[in-house]
């Protein structure tokens, strides 16, 4: 046998694939669409690193905050940038107010000129939102004239909501958090942040878990129409093809399907790439240009998919004896052996074992061991499942006719039944493991904020120079606001420069101070102190009659305001409320009239807002008021916990990927199911001829799918729990089973199967029509 003969046989197979008449074309189209969907997902995956890189680069290029506490001097090439982010029904809107200070002031990416005062340049998505019905409140909040559109380089995603508004009232002072003076946008010294090893571990596992079912799916797709093809191969044997030639011809057919699948998949990917620019999934959007796969990975896909198709076909043909008069598949097959199937998951566990207990503090996990170990464990599912299905269905007894028909079929073709559910089982096993890992490490990436959303639902942080009293009044009269509490706070030192002792100073009316501490009585002019248990010296430093300085100067930082203030008489000791609006209340609590007037602008000013849950859009009314009283105000919703952004993104990515993969597998299942039904068309019609009820056949189809799926999900749960346990141990995290996620993942798998069964019932009933008996 030589290469030439191989090529000739493969070529003949390719020709057969395209010359099979209508039936042949239908089979080819099914295979090509199946493989194409898989290829499109693979190409999408190969493009993901670029997506992350470009998004990161764009985010860095428009970065406009400085870590320095020193404000650079005004110059011809500086611009003042005020942060005016807001939200609209849980969607973030990135807002900036720009005030160029000279002719050479730098433009942010995506802008070709500065908007004038009262004008704004918006992202296309925000433009659309503002012009939509129901965005009246948002239009009130952004009362600027739209004069342009932000170009793609200035946006992270196509659906991002963003605007740049012109301003002439921005000022920046030392320590200002809302306004910055810049001579250039972007991070001057980009640093590559060292990624958290556990997050990298999770990312690797997410990739493997999402890609493994795709590989399984592609392997199943190249076997579409297998039974009909086997009959054709028998005819080839009759005219003199030997068994090896027959296998190569079969491989050639699969190769043709895979090659066409590559073309179709590329088409799907390009279509999806264009469509990606107009959709937003779970708050994330992209530009088509982001989805630019790495050439090396594309080449790998282009070679691996056809090679896998040939390999899978050759492997599958090992269990089939193609004789000149037909295919001997229905005869009893040799029993499957367990030992080598167990070796795969055991080898996977063996690869992961050395990393147990490594955690976050012992460097990165070995990527090759992680990928290899997880892959072997998941491949173990596909190897073990046929054995499990065969072993279990062999022991199942007879029941009703529908049950008997299903079980007998499973006993005869347990391999194809297992092949059908392999993808789901792998996806569920991986998802269970990942959910366990995510749930296990969640506490490491989630922190308690100490804020009680039952007491206050929103906080509005005003910018420097805003009038707190005016803001408080406005919020009191805002629709949907039950109550508002205005508090300002700052620091007090015992010396003008580099004080030895410092204390916090919190200013508010009596009602506001009562939200912080238990006050025996209170009226304007009163002063209280909440002693800091950890700093007794400070308590002694600030007794009545002692002098202090509000906002002292520190040598390391900018000059402070250094406003002298004498602690008034009548200072009373009080205790902080456990459920105080602010965390860690200590220091002086003073009513407004006690402080000199010029001290007020130096303090951080906040308004805490209680919303009326009965008023829809109450939060939006508050944001609109906030924007009116102070365009640079930051109005935000209180939550009791906060999650790491990267952790949350990874979880979102997993969810998006899982939805794609499950949909893909569902489609594959449906195609396989329909193909099997079509193969059995005549038999179904003859069963109907002698009076078999539709319900009986419908139930038989259901059992036929449900039994292997139940076994597959059971095995997937076991492997998923084992993998999850190992991953948690690798992350040095206590092992706990998140049963809710196990149930929800297996439930999702079961839901896919039930949907597929329901969708296959109408074709089943159509195929049961007596017309199926016609031969002419």
């Amino acid at each position: 046998m030589n290469v030439r003969q191989w090529c000739r046989d493969l070529g003949m197979g390719v020709r057969f694939a395209f010359t099979g008449g209508r039936e042949g074309w239908v089979r080819m189209v099914l295979t090509a669409v199946g493989v194409g969907l898989g290829v499109a997902l693979l190409l999408l995956t190969t493009a993901l690193p670029n997506v992350l890189t470009v998004r990161h680069q764009r985010e860095e290029a428009r970065q406009d905050f400085t870590y320095s506490t020193k404000v650079p001097p005004r110059a011809d090439n500086t611009v003042l940038v005020g942060e005016s982010d807001t939200k609209w029904h849980s969607r973030d809107i990135r807002g900036r107010r720009l005030q160029p200070e000279g002719r050479r002031a730098p433009l942010p990416p995506g802008l070709d000129r500065f908007p004038a005062k009262g004008d704004m340049v918006v992202s296309p998505a925000l433009k659309e939102l503002l012009s939509s019905d129901g965005a009246k409140l948002l239009r009130q909040r952004l009362p600027y004239r739209i004069t342009g559109t932000i170009g793609e380089p200035g946006l992270i995603g196509s659906q991002e909501l963003a605007y740049y508004a012109g301003a002439d009232d921005l000022v920046t002072e030392p320590g200002s958090t809302r306004v910055a003076r810049l001579s250039a946008f972007g991070e001057a010294h980009p640093t590559t942040e060292r990624a958290d090893p556990v997050l990298i571990l999770m990312m690797l596992v997410v990739f493997v878990v999402l890609l493994m079912p795709v590989a399984v799916f592609i392997a199943a797709a190249v076997r579409f129409g297998g039974e009909r093809r086997d009959r054709r191969l028998a005819a080839l044997r009759l005219v003199g093809s030997d068994s090896r030639m027959t296998r190569r011809i079969a491989a050639g057919e699969a190769l043709a399907g895979a090659l066409l699948g590559l073309v179709v998949g590329t088409g799907f990917f390009l279509l999806g790439r264009q469509a990606a620019g107009s959709v937003e999934v779970l708050g994330e959007s992209f530009f088509p240009s982001y989805l630019d796969p790495s050439p090396a990975l594309v080449a790998l896909v282009a070679v691996a998919v056809p090679a896998a198709a040939v390999l899978v076909t050759l492997l599958a043909m090992r269990g089939v004896v193609v004789e000149p008069l037909g295919v001997v598949r229905t005869a009893k097959q040799a029993r499957r052996r367990l030992w080598w199937r167990l070796l795969l998951p055991l080898a996977g566990l063996g690869m992961l074992y050395p990393m147990i207990g490594q955690g976050r503090s012992n460097g990165d996990f070995n990527q090759y061991l992680v990928i290899g170990g997880v892959m072997l464990l998941l491949v173990g599912v596909t190897a073990l499942l046929p054995w499990v299905v065969e072993a279990v269905v062999a022991r199942l007894g007879s029941g009703a006719v529908s049950w008997q028909l299903a079980i007998r079929r499973l006993q005869l073709t347990s391999g194809s039944a297992a092949r059908m559910v392999n993808g789901i089982a792998v996806a569920v096993a991986g998802a269970i493991a990942l959910q366990m890992l995510f749930a296990g490490v969640e506490s490491q990436y989630t922190k308690e904020t100490g804020r009680d959303p039952n007491r206050v639902q929103m906080e509005v942080d005003l910018s420097d120079g805003a009038r707190l009293d005016v803001a408080a009044r406005e919020f009191q009269h805002t629709k949907g606001v039950r109550a508002s509490v205005a508090i300002s706070s700052g620091g007090l030192g015992d010396k003008r420069r580099d004080p030895d002792h410092t204390a916090g100073i919190t200013v508010g009316d009596c009602a506001a101070l009562r939200e912080l501490a238990h006050l025996p009585s209170c009226r304007d002019g009163d002063v209280f102190v909440v002693p800091d248990a950890h700093d007794e010296a400070a308590v002694k430093a600030f007794t009545p009659g002692r002098h202090g300085f509000i906002e002292p100067t520190y040598t390391e930082g900018d000059r402070g305001r250094e406003i002298p203030w004498t602690i008034p008489a009548g200072l009373r000791h009080v205790t902080a409320r456990k459920d105080a609006l602010q965390t860690n209340v200590n220091g002086l609590l003073v009513t407004p009239s006690v402080l000199p007037a010029r001290a007020a602008p130096t303090l951080y000013q906040q308004v805490y807002v209680r919303l009326d849950p009965a008023v829809p859009d109450a939060e939006e009314y508050v944001r609109t008021t906030a924007a009116r009283v102070d365009p640079l105000a930051n109005a935000w919703h209180w939550t009791s916990t906060e999650q790491s952004g990267k952790y949350a993104s990874l979880r979102t990515g997993l969810l998006i990927g899982a939805i794609c993969v499950l949909s893909l597998i569902g489609a594959s299942l449906l195609v396989s199911q329909l193909e099997q039904l079509r193969e059995r068309r005549k038999l179904l019609s003859s069963l109907v001829a002698f009076g078999t009820r539709r319900r009986t056949l419908g139930l038989s189809v259901l059992w036929q799918t449900a039994v292997p799926i139940a076994l597959g999900l059971l095995l997937a749960s076991a492997v998923g729990l084992a993998l999850g346990t190992v991953l948690l141990k690798m992350a040095a995290t206590p092992v706990a089973v998140d049963w809710a996620s196990v149930v929800s993942m297996t439930g999702a798998g079961a839901a896919v199967v039930i949907t597929v069964t329901l969708l296959s019932l109408p074709p089943l009933f159509r195929l049961m029509r007596p017309e199926g008996l016609r031969t002419e």
Binding site: V328, R329, T330, A331, K332, S398, V401, Q404, L405, R408, R409, L410, Q411, L412, T413, K682, L683, S686, L687, V688, A689, F690, G691, T692, R693, T696, P770, E771, L773, R774, T775, E776
Partner: protein, 229 residues
Amino acid sequence: MTPPPGSLLTAENLRKAYGPTVALDGAEFSIHAGEVVAVMGPSGSGKSTLLHCLAGIVPPDSGSITYDGRELATMNDTQRSALRRSDFGFVFQFGQLVPELTCVENVALPLRLNGTSRRQAERTALTWMERLEVDVLKDKRPGEVSGGQGQRVAVARALVTGPRVVFADEPTGALDSLNGERVMELLTDAARSTNAAVVLVTHEARVAAYSDREIVVRDGRSRDMERAI
């Protein structure tokens, strides 16, 4: 044509078309209990369609079919299915045995569909398999038996419910002459012994020779050869 008195199953003026193709165009048919009638004709003449109409599998476009005094057209799908389960038996060209069931389970299937318990159904099935000389195959699957053996299993399946009419569509079409003759002998003997009528669709004169009477279908019209003489 007036059906002969005492007919078990009669059809009058049957018309059936599949799209533009006319399969039956005024076909007539009748059969008595215990009678074997061969329906002959070339491929595409409409003989299988006639069989499907007579068995209530396919409704004719017009004409009437009466079984045991009951008009099939007045029955709904469920009633016709029940009739097929209880009173009719079927043998097809390729047996159409369910490949995943063993031979005895295949034969027992019509009984089980009628609600008979598995044990009882398989016991009765085995009796019929003995009569058709295939009892040794009871635990084998259809894929493991020869074409002739499979067809005898199919005959046993058709007779197991004690049908009053057996419809056989080219029952020997896929068999060699020796096996074909054996199957026909067993089928007709068994049917006659139970007084079952047999509607035998074939295009082979050799097979038709086992019948009591022949009807020839050509271009959708039937002609009773006995009456023609």
